[in-house]
């Protein structure tokens, strides 16, 4: 063996270990997608459409907040585990503070989502936009704000890019379904999930 090969091999092993570690610790449901191609890949592969009752899911969030149950964010269980099993990606969309007005720096992200949803391979599918917040502030306020913001994204996709409203639903879950439960106050919890939930008959 030539001198130096061992060092190089160690370096490679370290790199592989780091990549593997990052892949294992980064939650599957929190994977982002930057380009329409990435988004199409992440949204593809729905085998069986889930039976999601969005009204009931939303009501569970309302009831839990009203009952002041699971008050500690770090110990708060998710409202549903069903969403995590579905094809999806997460995306950071910026808004004006305390409003549902999309910031101009996020226009491109919305345009890219529209591009992805119009790709031929995704045309037969329906999608859910899920709004979240981090765990700062009041829970009921966060729930309302996340719903307004998810609705706002849907509105832009429908009115500006003419994505069929039949293909898009929106729900806000506030801080009741944290994207990163280990860090409830982290900004990553403000991201949105775009989830494939339906297939045209």
């Amino acid at each position: 063996m030539r001198p130096g090969n061992g060092g190089l091999r160690d370096l490679c092993l370290l790199a592989i270990a780091l990549i593997a570690s990052a892949t294992l610790t980064f939650p599957l449901h929190a994977q982002t997608a930057d380009t329409p191609d990435d988004m199409v890949t992440r949204l593809s592969g729905l085998e069986t459409a889930p039976e999601l009752d969005l009204a009931a899911l939303r009501q569970r969030a309302v009831d839990r907040i009203k009952a002041k149950a699971d008050a500690v964010p770090l110990k708060r269980p998710p409202l549903t585990t069903e969403l995590r099993k579905l094809p999806q990606f997460t995306v950071g969309i910026r808004f004006d503070p305390d409003t549902s007005i999309v910031r101009p720096e996020s226009y491109q992200s919305l345009g890219r989502i529209a591009d992805a949803l119009l790709r031929q391979s995704l045309l037969p599918y329906g999608f859910l936009i899920v709004g979240h917040t981090e765990s700062t502030g009041k829970r009921d306020y966060n729930l309302t704000l996340s719903q307004k913001r998810a609705d706002s994204i849907r509105d832009v996709l429908v009115t500006t890019f003419k994505i069929s409203p039949k293909r898009l639903q929106a729900i806000g879950l506030g801080e009741e379904q944290l994207l990163d439960p280990a860090q409830p106050a982290a900004a990553i919890n403000q991201q949105f999930q775009i989830v494939t939930i339906a297939k045209a008959p």
Binding site: D96, P104, Q108
Partner: protein, 149 residues
């Protein structure tokens, strides 16, 4: 032919040349606009008009009618770059939307004859259409412009 006719003809020629020049200069951007993706068009709007939207249209969402209308109403205040680019961006978005309607027209032969589908239900034939080799150039162009590939 009188001197007056010459002058009129000359004016027409000058106007004609001006129009030709404008068309020549505009042609690349028009061609680009036809195939611009939503993402690229939205990026132009966000990058060129971000500050102008903050200053003049705060509270207006990314709505193709309301935001365009707001920027139009505030044309005197918005930056020269935004004044040019907001029209270009919204135009590109509209063309991209219109291209989807064009596919049914441009690909009618392929849809009906090769895919045994109906032009009115183009989405049901897209899978077949994209797998076809030798579709007409206009059909292929329309599919690309619509962003289906």
């Amino acid at each position: 032919m009188t001197i007056g006719d010459f002058i009129v003809s000359d004016e027409v020629m000058v106007h004609g040349r001006s129009i030709l020049l404008i068309l020549t200069l505009a042609a690349p951007s028009l061609a680009a606009a036809e195939t611009m993706s939503f993402g690229d068009a939205a990026a132009i709007l966000g990058n060129s008009c971000g500050k102008d939207i903050d200053d003049n249209c705060r509270g207006v969402n990314f709505d193709s009618i309301r935001l365009k209308d707001c920027l139009y109403r505030n044309q005197d205040s918005v930056s020269p770059q935004c004044r040019v680019d907001y029209l270009r961006a919204f135009d590109a978005i509209q063309k991209h939307i219109a291209a989807r309607a064009t596919v049914a027209r441009m690909c009618e032969y392929e849809v009906v004859k090769r895919c045994k589908g109906k032009a009115k239900e183009i989405s049901k034939s897209l899978d077949c259409l994209l797998q076809q080799s030798g579709v007409s150039a206009k059909c292929s162009q329309a599919i690309g412009d619509a962003g289906y590939r």
